[in-house]
């Protein structure tokens, strides 16, 4: 018999993404690259008014353009809405409510023909008074946007705990502030794209970028007048998603209308300008927060009113208070807390889900408020946070059960690694001294679900594993790959369980007709949920193999292990047989023949919210504490982020390369939110729909990063892992804002901290100082 095989583990190691080689040499066919036989190009004519009556649409000249095969308007459609509250008919009739509103769609043989046709469509409008401010939209007598939404109220949330009136009386200091957080957008590198294709049975195949393929069918079908079971969803590789593809958006049913009319496949693809102006944004909001503290540093209460600009229609953005409220009620101990939100319809763009969900917005508020409260009671930012940080075993007012809670450890670690207090005090002392460049250091912490989020009836994921005669495994999972790297993580988990090399695993996860159900890539859930499902399915396969090996050897199944492609004795690693030859013996065993095909559906042990939004919605929670070190150029207002040190509770690292990538990318989003990214919208029109004027980070601005992962196995996570994809996005902006305050003594309640804004604030501060003298 061959040599003993030592027990090793793949968990925590770096493995490269299985799809990376094909992506490195141009072989990958993204959806945008796909061409189907006889495929037509579809494009959309949108409103150029923020709010108007549509008096007439004349498509006769467009129809005469050579190569045009179909033109559709609302009259050709069932007029059933898409989106979270189904208030968004794919093609609009009679009234347009925003600049992005879809009015006419054209399909033709070439892009040139379609562009020409679009330019020839004549639309007559009668302008209506437009409302851009949500407060105005809620005023009495404001023009009502949707017949069934009185007072322009879209969605409202409220959660109330304890007695904030009494708690306010018990407070020594009460902070009362307003924050305005802005519009940003995903800027996926791959522009929006969909291909709709009917077969001869009338069944529809959607090639889409969606990140929730199963419920996508359910959400899409009514707008088409179809049964969800007649839709097959295929997910070719995509150029980024980050939450932007978690809903059905009008262009998708529009592609179907065109395909239906022409009986040919139709591809709709966005221009970069459309990608900026007709994709969802991050939800903007105005927060009015009142927060109290006692002189000894104990937090007393929080009272938050959030006013959300819903825009013209409703996607996930309007539901972000679901996450915001967990941030306001959790994280630090505040037993008396109230949160109310209203989303008001306006003639602005609408928001979708976006990595970090409402937590990016809410944490900008809480993390800067924590600094302000610390200052009010003359405490430093670290001790103040440590004193109020929640601990393991605590339960938040909304019933997030913190079985594990490493917030305190995260704060202590990051403070120590950055020499926080010493730097903080030194920079503070320098604030008013002469000199162009001022340094600052700031901390912010985060709290987020890390074991899924039960917002749908199921938060589950299914997996099927099949082993062939050569011990090659096919892993069919419901979990989507959108660049985040679940392909590597699941491969690693299955390889670990089955003792086979990762190269011997093929992952299949791009076809709803093949894969088992999954709720979608959101809520940082995939490593936790899909990881558990894959692990459990692999465990069943492993058990079946070990039982078969035990039957064919003198060793009990419990004393066997799978390593390096062999069944080995657990204690000494001596191989008993090769897995592939065992699989063949099992397969060709006559009447006892068996194949190893296992499956699992994993539903996490979490609960949906009940009354008052109380419920332990996630099977795990995670905290992080990050420190930003900045230099402010007081002449130009430029804030340079020199370094970000991140301490993150991760449960357990599965793929080191992958988790670092998620951290680095997530932090980049957070930095953009805090420093440079902002959609400039005037009169409902996006004025900077391009890379020149909407500034995403490029390589020269990428800061130095230092990570410390705190590993403390989550009892329910796969190999102890938690999901962290959104967490790094949440913290950078407030950490930077706190660092800027440390540098120059100025607070910004309205990110991003652009050079103009910072320079203006510095001038104002100096002017005020001169005036006072």
């Amino acid at each position: 018999m061959s040599e003993a095989i030592e027990k090793t583990t793949l968990i925590g190691k770096s493995i490269t993404k299985p799809d990376a080689p094909d992506k490195s040499n141009g072989r990958t066919r993204y959806i945008n690259d796909m061409v189907l036989p006889r495929m037509l190009i579809g494009k959309i004519k949108r409103s150029d008014r923020a709010h108007a009556k549509v008096l007439s649409i004349d498509t006769s000249k467009a129809a005469a353009v050579p190569g045009i095969q179909a033109i559709v308007t609302a009259d050709d459609t069932p007029m059933v809405g898409v989106g979270v509250t189904k208030d968004n008919p794919p093609l609009k009739k009679d009234i347009v409510l925003s600049m992005r509103d879809e009015l006419v769609a054209v399909a033709g043989e070439t892009e040139e023909a379609v562009d020409k046709a679009l330019a020839l469509i004549e639309i007559e409008y009668e302008d209506l008074p437009a409302i851009f401010d949500p407060a105005e939209a809620l005023e009495e007598g404001a023009h009502q946007m949707h017949d069934d939404k009185p007072g322009n109220l879209s969605l409202g949330y409220q959660t109330v705990h304890g007695d904030i009136k009494q708690a306010e009386k018990d407070s020594d200091h009460v902070l009362d502030e307003v924050y305005d957080v802005h519009y940003v957008t995903h800027v996926c590198m791959g522009p929006g794209c969909v291909i709709a294709d009917f077969d001869t049975h009338g069944k529809l195949t959607m090639y889409t970028q969606t990140q929730y393929p199963y419920n996508y069918k359910m959400d899409l079908a009514p707008s088409l007048g179809m049964h969800p079971g007649d839709i097959r969803v295929i997910q070719p590789p995509v150029g980024g998603a980050f939450g932007s593809k978690l809903d059905v958006y009008p262009f998708e049913p529009i592609a179907v209308f065109l395909a239906k009319k022409t009986r040919r496949p139709v591809k709709v693809i966005f221009s970069r300008e459309e990608e900026f102006s007709a994709s969802p944004t991050r939800q903007p909001a105005r927060f009015h927060i009142r927060a109290g503290v006692k002189n000894d540093g104990t937090l007393t209460f929080r009272d938050v009113d959030a006013l959300l600009n819903n825009g013209s229609h409703t996607s996930w953005g309007a539901t972000t208070p679901f996450v915001m409220m967990r941030t306001f009620t959790g994280h630090f101990r505040v037993p008396d807390v109230e949160f109310r939100s209203r989303a008001a319809y306006t003639n602005m763009p609408y928001a979708g889900s976006f990595r970090g969900y409402g937590n990016v917005q809410a944490t900008y508020v809480t993390a800067t408020v924590m600094d302000k409260l610390a200052e009010a009671v003359n405490m430093d930012p670290i001790s103040f946070r440590l004193m109020n940080a929640q601990k393991a075993g605590e339960i938040t007012p909304q019933n997030s059960k913190l079985e594990e809670c490493l917030l305190g450890e995260c704060i202590e670690t990051v403070a120590e690694k950055t020499n926080f207090l010493e730097q903080y005090n030194a920079f503070k002392a320098e604030q008013d001294s002469p000199g162009r460049y001022k340094k600052g250091i700031g901390i912010a912490t985060s709290f987020h679900n890390a074991g899924g989020a039960k917002i749908h009836k199921s938060d589950g994921c299914g997996t099927v594993i099949m082993l062939d005669d050569y011990a090659r495994a096919t892993v069919i999972t419901g979990a989507s790959e959108i660049g985040q790297g679940i392909d590597a993580v699941l491969t690693q988990i299955v390889a670990e369980e089955l003792g086979i090399p990762t190269e011997n695993i093929t992952l299949v996860n791009n076809d709803s007709a093949i894969g088992p159900w999954d709720v979608g890539v959101h809520a940082s859930r995939t490593t936790f949920i899909a990881g558990n499902s894959a692990k459990r399915a692999a465990r069943k396969a492993r058990d079946q193999i070990l039982d078969a090996a035990a039957q064919r050897s003198n060793v009990a199944a419990d004393d066997l292990d799978l390593r390096g492609g062999s069944v080995v004795q657990n204690d000494n690693g001596v191989p008993v047989m090769k897995i592939d030859s065992l699989l063949r013996k099992m397969h060709f065993a006559g009447e006892d023949a068996e194949l190893v095909i296992t499956h699992d559906y994993y539903e996490p042990p979490s609960e949906p919210e009940g009354d008052n939004h109380v419920g332990d919605i996630s099977a795990a929670y995670s905290h992080g504490a990050y420190v930003a070190e900045v230099t402010v150029d007081t002449w130009t207002g430029v804030v340079k982020l020199n370094k970000m040190t991140a301490v993150q509770d991760v449960g357990r690292v599965v793929n080191k390369l992958g988790i670092e990538g998620q951290m680095e990318g997530g932090i980049a989003f957070g930095i953009g939110y805090g420093l440079t990214e902002e959609m400039i919208i005037e009169g409902g029109e996006i004025k900077n729909p391009n890379f020149r004027d909407y500034k995403v980070m490029t390589a020269p601005e990428a800061p130095e990063l230092e990570f410390h992962f705190i590993e403390n196995d989550d009892p329910d996570g796969p190999f102890g892992a938690k999901g962290i994809a959104e967490l790094p996005t949440i913290i950078p902006a407030p950490a930077i804002a706190n660092a800027v305050y440390n540098a120059i003594g100025i607070r910004f309640n309205n990110p991003p901290l652009t050079p103009e804004k910072v320079a203006r604030a510095i001038v104002d501060k100096q002017a005020a100082k001169v005036a006072a003298e």
């Binding site: 770096s14 990376a20 490195s24 945008n32 998603a241 660049g483 670092e660 391009n690």
Partner: protein, 155 residues
């Protein structure tokens, strides 16, 4: 229909006869006429670098260059870097270092890196960052891309 222009261009070492309209970009010619879809159309305005290819040894934004300008010249795309079935060292470095998430920026990044290293075999950190300034990546935050360039340079 605009008048077609016939050009002869060497693409990834192969001489190609292509018939193009005067307004056609190099990017669209590669993607639509030659089925080389590695280079990506992301902005079409020279602002993101996803369409980067190398023309006569210099990296260009192929979305901004007219195909007619290619007559008699040599183009290398991300599909043309490998000289064997093995990935080219720059491509391999991007794989090894985890510099690829969605991968949509990767063909442009790989070509820009190839160009950078052909001009400067041992770039320092500053030179790498400046060299990649015109290439946007939304997924990675650039750390691993910079590491990949370093690996390729040391290669």
């Amino acid at each position: 229909m605009s008048q077609m222009v016939n050009i002869i261009v060497t693409v990834n070492g192969e001489k190609r006869h292509v018939s193009v309209t005067p307004g056609l970009s190099v990017l669209n010619m590669l993607r639509d006429n030659l089925d080389l879809t590695g280079a990506k159309l992301v902005c079409g305005e020279g602002e993101c670098g996803a369409c980067t290819v190398i023309v006569d040894g210099v990296s260009v934004n192929s979305c901004l260059m007219y195909a007619v300008e290619l007559d008699g010249r040599e183009v290398t795309t991300v599909e043309g870097l490998q000289s064997s079935e093995k990935l080219d060292p720059v491509q391999q470095a991007f794989v090894d270092k985890g510099a690829i998430q969605c991968g949509y920026c990767t063909p442009g990044m790989v070509m820009q890196t190839t160009h950078l290293l052909s001009k400067n075999g041992k770039p320092n950190d500053e030179e790498i960052r400046r060299g990649l300034e015109g290439n946007v990546c939304r997924c990675t935050g650039y750390t691993k891309i910079i590491e990949a360039v370093n690996q390729a340079a040391e290669g």
